[in-house]
Amino acid sequence: MNAPTKGSRGDALKWVGRAIRRLEDPALVTGQGHFTADLPATHWVRFVRSPNAAGTINSIKTPDGALVITAADLTAVKKITPMLHKFEYKPVGQPVLADGVVRFVGEAVAAVVASSEEEAEDIADLVELDISASAPLVDARDALASGAPQIHTGAPGNVIVKGEVKTAGFDDVWASAAKIIKIDARSHRQNATPMEARAAHAAYDKTNGRVTLTCTTQMPHLMRTAIADLLGMRESDLRVIAPDVGGGFGQKMSLCTEYVLLVWLARKLKSTVAWTEDRRENLIASFHSRDQYVTLEGAFDKDAKLLALRADVVSNVGAYSCFPTTCGVEPLMAMAEMPGPYDVRQYQCLARGVLTNTCTMAAYRGVSRPIITFTLERLMDKAAKAFALDPVDIRRRNLIGTFPYTSATGLIYDEATYKETLEMAVHEIDVPAFRARQKEARAKGRYLGIGFATFSERTGYGSPAFAARGMAITPGWETVHVSVDPSGYVEARIGASPHGQGLRTTLAQIIADELGIPPDLVKVVHGDTDTAPYGWGTFASRSLVISGGATLIAARKVRAKLIKIASHMLEAAENDIVLEDGHAKVAGTDRSITIASMAREIYTQTHRFKGELEPGLSESGTYDPPGTFSNACHVAIVELDPETGFVKVERYLVAEDAGRIINPMIADGQVHGGVAQGIGNALLEEIVYDGDGGILTANLADYMPPTAHEMPHVELHHIETPSTQSITKAKGLGEGGTIGAPAAVLNAINDALTPFNAEIDTIPATPQRIRAALREATTKKSA
């Protein structure tokens, strides 16, 4: 069902809003994509990685005749030192190769260079590391304990970042509450697991000394800036290319030590060097996420209205801080966005990022929001139970309903449909019919559960939002250059760096409507710092809002110029010119001219415009919006097998509002994929460390992304509330699917567990954990 468009201004757009096939696809379905690992190289690198989670390196013994790089070779290379100017952040440096100390299993200690991947691995096997191992800190709570060893000298108590907030009047309101409801939530560690692991290829050009780094990144320009900084080279001597990138989900946002080393090596060897990460490395040594303890308390009045929230967030950030977001990305987002879609005026939070001897944490789709949404939504269900209310009713009483809304933490929520999407979901899922079915099933010993999750998704936020976090780098704005070449074809060069999101297609749709041409005449160019304007890349549900906005600004300028050209050439008033079907037409006449001939004219017959128009047809747009909130209600229906603890998601429904939808097919695909990752987060995926800091889940049999079998059919329902904070009226939606699913699934599991008086507030809710919860409930009952 496509719901009636709320507030649609009914503007006559021909391409925006249509589910056209993707312009990206013909190459990708025929095997003609270009991925980093497809490139040939002279030298191949294999990293020797630490088998110890903590310790000091006594010696590194390398085989005779082998080229092996260690920290001793890299004295001129700076350490990666991300920075936040707020929240008691303690800058810690990460050497490109471990320098005397190892801090997690998988940390790169040496780099072997050989003529093939096989040979490099053979040599790496012969490198002998002599490390004096010390006892590692794996769990954040252990790292916080008094007397715990200090992982970095600059970060006493292992707290690297600490955010605190408390609204004025909090204590009085808290004291006035009718009920305080509390949840201790645990989110275990996950890995984003893009199907393409990381890869890099650095080629030295002897004619000019430049290096071209082709790599799997979501932020090519920032990679250039950062690597040039670390190596002390001119940025113009480095070209970074993100070719086709096989998924990122945040993991490919951060700067990898490996890429820095590759550029250094290409310059040292004056040759071509490549590294393709293997899956084991990806699982142990790329970037992890979501390892958090969240304690959340809600103070409610007698009518179950939420008065105040109090949160304690402990985020295990691993051994180092990621660049550019810093390891504040999880704890600080948790702090800023914890109140979610609810109207709550009082808020207190302590959010800490804690260093441990584990793989470094970085952004992963949704960042903290899958965790805080799951925590908050569990809290609301617990509160509903305490007040003997239906979970839907307690949400009705508390969801934000008037806009713009300024949150307790000062975030401004633009118009959204928290209540409407909830009601839509409730209607579509048919709660009474489900409750009847659930009752009937229970009588037969089958346990069904339903879970709701309502949430807000802050998307498309510009530089001020990053500045508010005190970030030394504020990756907010985007620039787009739109040009029409003399043959009439349109090219848009963008600073964003899509890798599966279909942005080439959606931006082409936006341009097509402005210029009156079909989208397939538009070529969107991205991912090459030599050809794309400086920009930040694709992450944080931002590209369609920010790069789309910049595209619209640039396209409007091109449109304005085309109209002027047409006005000259057709000798008509600008107001009478219409752009459509690849022509400029004079309204109400049969006079028209093709865009191609106008383009040819403005390049080659400039004198005809009598100095009134600049030569050429190329315009730039930059956009730095304040941010806009998407929202959704997710509903999961699960069947829980109490004997094994197995959970099957049998039905999944999403009612969502992401503002104007540019391409419904692509938008739906983003939600499907997001929900799959969220279900993986909720039920399956967990990086497990042993007590020594070794990883027990270093392959895809033990680390378990869902397969087609584990995925329910996802039913989608849309409301479109055009955003007032985004000039395309679109809101971002890349992360919403992942944000909502753990909450909906966990609430559904807990609903199914109701007859047993058991609860589970841990993700992933594995069969063993569910059985343990059931066993505990049984023990309690019999005691």
Partner: protein
Amino acid sequence: MKPAPFVRHVPRTLQQALAMLSQLAGQDGRILAGGQSLVPIMAFRLAKPAHLIDINEVEGLDRLDSDGKALTIGARVRHAAFHGPVVDNPLAALLTYVARHIAHYPIRMRGTFCGSLAHADPASEWCLTTATLGATMIARSTRGTREIAAKDFFDGIMSTALAEDELLAEVRLPLLAADAKFGFNEFSRRAGDFAMASSLVAYRVVDSKIAEARVGVGGAEPSPRRIAEAEAALNGQPPGDAAFRAAALAASDAVDPLEDHQTNAEYRRDLVRVVVRRALEHSLQ
């Protein structure tokens, strides 16, 4: 994650294969059949054989036939061979049902029945099948031919009674009685993953009572095996809930569970109880 170097040898006849194995076993030589278990552990360099004797070209090892008493399965017979019925006996349906639980379709195209046994993963469906049904393993070497009963064959996690110079040339799987009933159940978190516990059962019903019960449990202990206590709980009882529950409980009490990060002993026992009962329930469907 590239395998360490090895030398490949390609025998055409069984004799050649055995001669090579005899010569190379002591030099870290191994048999390569389907490779679906061996190649991954080579990729992780958990195995670094110096020599691989690739038996995929060996004549005669693709034997899959019955003499009316047992089904003979040669070393080159792939899992996918059991996607359809292979013999006119209830065993065929059992094998077809079990086969579809093995990993995934492309893996079944290459992986072999005998290779699974020689690899001896505790969770292997075929190891469970042969242990439960009392298969005879035919081990051949230049020294001669040895018949090894399934119960003596599996010797712990990824360990068997095969000597290093012996090739598991074929397996004889006894046919089931024409009126035999069987049931299978396994538990894993994702489709196609290794079972965290599995059970295969077979029995006859004589005078409305269970007879000749076989209850096998896999994935729970270092090797799959028949659980005598569970069989005793079934024999002489009418098939049905009471007997099935008693047998399931007996099995879960009898096992000495393996533990790993997602399965402690208590939970593994839970799973054993469930898969045995569900396998028995499946036998009635």
